[in-house]
Symmetry: C2
């Protein structure tokens, strides 16, 4: 993907933009406001910009006159750039320009940072849990008529130093013919033990040299979505990936409703639903990568406790009943076929361990995949998906908790809330003078609703601009018809019916804002509580790792503005994306993680927040924007003060 | 079973007899000849004896006059005793009596000696590979909400010292509900590792205390017959046993014909045939013992290499092709359900290891079950079944070989040969003067043929009486019409048509005798060859252990008479019966055998006799009765000399 530099005048802010993204995204990244309410299909015709130099395509619309077009005016939401460009934002007045010039600045999202294969190799850690070995064995003679298995084992020992080897039944069944299929030239697949002194199991044998074809599958079993990746164990590359909704959704949106359904004789249905989704994903990634399924050697899965139990067919009933007891935290290697996975008979399924009923394998995978368990720095790890969990700690200790944040971050409980699908407002800016919106949607299409990152960005912008107060209530005498009362409830009109895909005004209500405040309050007070329990405070945090579906689009300053994230230097915040999948991939590539994960899991002390004395106080204090204790957010407070007294 | 003493006059020999056995068996045991050609249904009317004192029932026949009956004459084959009795054998003349008095003497069969449960307990060796543990766990609380598996494992560790515990998927699936079915009172079934430092696997969990119901199955997978025993792991008792023909027989009599059939796409058929037989046997013993199949914790199987591979679905093709390579010698524990066994999902199938393609798990089981691997004495172990194998050695070394003895010992290649089923002559005596026979059949019914032990006993008797010479050829001018030439082939008439069940004369031919000589020659020369290879001779042998189907009925003196067994003190010969089943039972009761068997198997040096230089010379020399080298059989020679020059 080529990318070019966009320079915005009159602010002289430069940002880079991928060639396939519309110009309006560069404006958002630059912190430059451009009115744009329709979400990006050229319907509203508001996002007019002037191309002063450089080559662009598109952006010409019936909303523009011939004179406009001749003067270089384009609709930013429809314009792609073909070179570095200089773009001027039309301003209404000099005052505007002056105010805006002070206000705007490059937006800061979290740096994306994931461990990768080269890191592993550099650290000498590359060692998949399953590995192929090629052997050219001597053929048996009357003087050397070792049994087939003994021949294989003795040469594995002699040539590779492998010891404590044993074979599985499928290998016993194949070995006589496979050895003789290609003159005793064979490739053996060896599953390494978790403990270095454990047994090495020969799980497969193939004729000839197939060591160049060695693959693994990593899966994140999410409550809402399942993601799978096909990994090349020689290069460490992701050959293909695929995500899909977890078919269990039709039986309930969250883990609790799934458990309730399972208790009504629904467990088998739930198990086969997630299995179906996973098998379809495996089919797709195998086809995409055009590999032979027989060369997949193992599958690593990470999911929360309920998802893991349902996947394995273990009754989750007691997860939702006090005292919230999961069946197990550790899972042995399980034959994939025993679980119903459409993989070879030899394939081992390796599950991430759980900490507790509500801090599951997905979080442990995040802790492992993000590497937080290896560092000295006091780190806050937050995974915000269908459920929200937090881990605080470092290489020496960790405290973790599930936060009852509710589904607001995935659009739940929000009037026009939706998942981050096409048409969801994911990014937002507000003209501080006109209070006109700049909506950016997933897929750059017409507005349909609001997703989690959009919600945060909208509320932060409304708060920063003084449209709402620190209780999340609308200021009721603003010079804009976008703030209004409808059937007794105050709201901000993000997009009017005529520019949306749904033919209705898309609005954000006070009730929506209240739900977000409760959600962010739960997360923030969760952090405070864990830190309290170990005798530390927010000021001790040295690093934040964000994980989950929406993390990469959240404007960090805005997340701090509403008090979702503790205030910390922005460059100390990193984003790891789907950390459950990341952890699954990493432990598919190195057994070191598998070896360390048990100790890490044991180290992770679980807190049931609802049973921790200080939690409720922290929670109530957090139901403000950004917080009752403004000392916790000095930068936000400084910024708000500057905003209310702008230097003209 | 009550037994009484029988005193035979005029010889004054006393033997004991079970109350349900016919009197004629006491005569045979006493070495007292009674003419009896029909096999025991009173048809020939020859076996007249006089009851001088004591209480008897039966034995009255139309062949006897009222005067005979009044005088106490009875047919020995029809008479059961109800008390100690004194029985007189009618003799024709004083010469007879005198000769017979010298000749007769108690017959010596091998002492039956099997290791048993009490031996194990006394030696501190009782430790089944799978064991049940009862635990009353504390119920979880908010302060103690350990995951179910962790709760179980931590209490197993605390209460029993079990360590390195892990669970299988079936246990994970059951544990939440089973723990709560009886208030956290549960019984865990633990599979012990072979190596003491290996993992202890929790393979099952049941509500309540089921430790009093703990069973195992031991199986001998024979080429011809499959035997199963149901074992009580608390008492060590055999609760039920059952044998049946291996259904594979319909596809071939011996291992070679089975392998040939398997190569014609027959492997799946052979596998399902033996599985069917085994599952039927399991059904029968479970029903006989009236136990709950769910409380069977493991199954131990022993079979020869071909039987083991076919049972597991492993192509046996290369077993019969030079250089005779088996798939494996060691087998991992295999889930019984994966093999198709009708047992619980948690049941582990443990196979005896093999030494080579023709010295299999049945022989290793015999070595372990007989305990020969634990003793100092130089022991010869012979297992004579469908195949014949020998092991020579002691606790420090062992040499073993399969002998191409052919099927003569199971009736194969013998004109009237048959398996040891009802009507088969199994024991035999010859009147040295009249050359009239005394036939004893399996089941004490009319003669139908000759089984292996009968064959040995008949040939030895014919040789001792001078009816055949040391080449096995008939002496052609004897004063009896029982020795005759039919269609150019000389034969001895064991039973005339009118007294048999088959309406034809049952005879033993010179060809039959030649086949037996080749068979015993193969075995004896096998011993000689193995001893040669380790620099020892027959005279060094200190002990013989006989195993196999017919061993218990073989008259040891007669087996030595024909040179089947090396000459050794009779009380140094023991009989262990079905040693494969014995070994399977013993290792079901103690993991010590499983722990030692790998080392024992490695210690057993296999010799391919056909490729051992000295074998052919030894073989040719053994094709005599008893042997070309008469120095090897001094007692036989002395006895023969005494016979030919009887002291009147």
């Amino acid at each position: 993907m080529s990318s070019f530099t966009v320079t915005f005048l009159p602010y002289n802010i430069k940002v880079s933009l991928d060639a396939d993204e519309p110009l309006i995204r560069a404006a958002m990244a630059a912190g430059v406001h451009v009115n744009a309410s329709c979400g990006g299909q050229g319907v509203c015709g508001k996002c007019r910009v002037v191309i002063e130099s450089g080559e662009v395509e598109g952006g010409i619309s019936e909303k523009l006159s011939q004179a406009d077009i001749a003067a270089g005016v384009r609709l930013a939401c429809q314009t792609r750039i073909l070179s570095d460009v200089v773009v001027r934002i039309p301003t209404e007045s000099a005052v505007d320009a002056s105010v805006l010039n002070k206000t705007f600045g490059e937006r800061r999202t979290a740096r994306i940072r994931q461990m990768n294969f080269n890191d592993l190799k550099e650290q000498g850690l590359f060692m998949p849990p399953v590995e192929k070995r090629y052997l050219a064995l001597p053929e048996p003679t009357a003087q050397d008529n070792l049994p087939d298995v003994s021949r294989l084992i003795s040469f594995l020992h002699a040539n590779f130093g492998d010891h404590r080897l044993e074979v599985d039944l499928p290998v016993l069944r194949k070995i006589p013919d496979v050895l003789r299929a290609d003159g005793f030239r064979v490739t053996a697949t060896i599953a390494r033990p978790v403990r270095p002194d454990g047994k090495n199991r020969i799980i497969d044998i193939q004729p000839g040299d197939t060591t160049d074809r060695s693959y693994a599958v990593a899966v994140d079993i999410g409550t809402t979505t399942v993601f799978g990746q096909l990994l090349d164990l020689n290069s460490g590359e992701v050959l293909a990936q695929q995500g899909d909704f977890n078919s269990q959704i039709s039986y309930g949106e969250d883990v609790i409703s799934r458990i309730v359904f399972s208790e009504k004789n629904g467990m088998a249905k739930l198990q086969s639903a997630v299995l179906k989704t996973t098998n379809q994903i495996i089919d797709r990634i195998v086809r995409k990568a055009a590999i032979d399924r027989d060369n997949i050697t193992h599958i690593t899965l990470a999911g929360n406790t309920t998802m893991t139990q349902l996947f394995c067919g273990i009754n989750p009933r007691y997860i939702r009943r006090s005292p919230y007891v999961p069946a197990s935290t550790l899972y042995p290697p399980i034959r994939a076929v025993d679980l119903g996975l459409a993989l070879g008979e030899h394939v081992m399924a390796l599950f991430y361990p759980q900490v507790s009923s509500y801090v599951g394998g997905d979080i442990v995978a995040g802790v492992m995949g993000s590497g937080m368990y290896r560092h000295e720095e006091l780190t806050l790890f937050m995974d915000i998906g269908t459920n929200a969990e937090i881990v605080i700690g470092n290489k020496d200790w960790m405290a973790c908790a599930a936060c009852s944040a509710g589904p607001a971050f995935e659009g739940g409980g929000i009037k026009f809330g939706m998942r981050a699908e096409k048409g969801a407002i994911e990014d937002f800016s507000l003209d501080p003078l006109t209070l006109e919106p700049m909506n950016i949607t997933v897929g750059n299409v017409g507005v349909r609703g609001i997703c989690g990152s959009g919600l945060i960005n909208i509320v932060a912008a409304l708060f920063e601009a003084g449209v709402i107060d620190n209780l999340g209530k609308f200021n009721r005498d603003l010079p804009t018809d976008r703030v209004r009362e409808t059937e007794g409830i105050w709201e901000y009109v993000l997009a009017r019916a005529e520019v949306t895909q749904i033919g209705r005004d898309v609005v954000l209500t006070e009730i929506d804002i209240d739900n977000l405040i409760r959600a962010k309050g739960a997360l923030y007070s969760g952090c405070m509580t864990l830190l309290d329990e170990v005798g530390l405070g927010i000021e001790n945090l040295e690093r934040i790792i964000l994980a989950g579906g929406f993390g990469s689009y959240v404007d960090l300053e805005k997340a701090m503005m509403i008090g979702l994230l503790p205030e910390i230097e922005l460059d100390r915040v990193t984003f790891v994306g789907n950390s459950s999948l990341l952890g699954a991939r990493m432990s598919s590539l190195t057994n070191h993680i598998r070896r360390e994960v048990t100790a890490v899991t044991r180290m992770m002390t679980n807190f049931e927040l609802s049973e921790t004395a200080s939690f409720m106080d922290h929670y109530v204090a957090a139901l403000f924007l950004p917080h009752t204790d403004t000392n916790l957010f000095p930068k936000v407070m400084a910024r708000m003060a500057a905003r209310r007294h702008p230097t003209p």
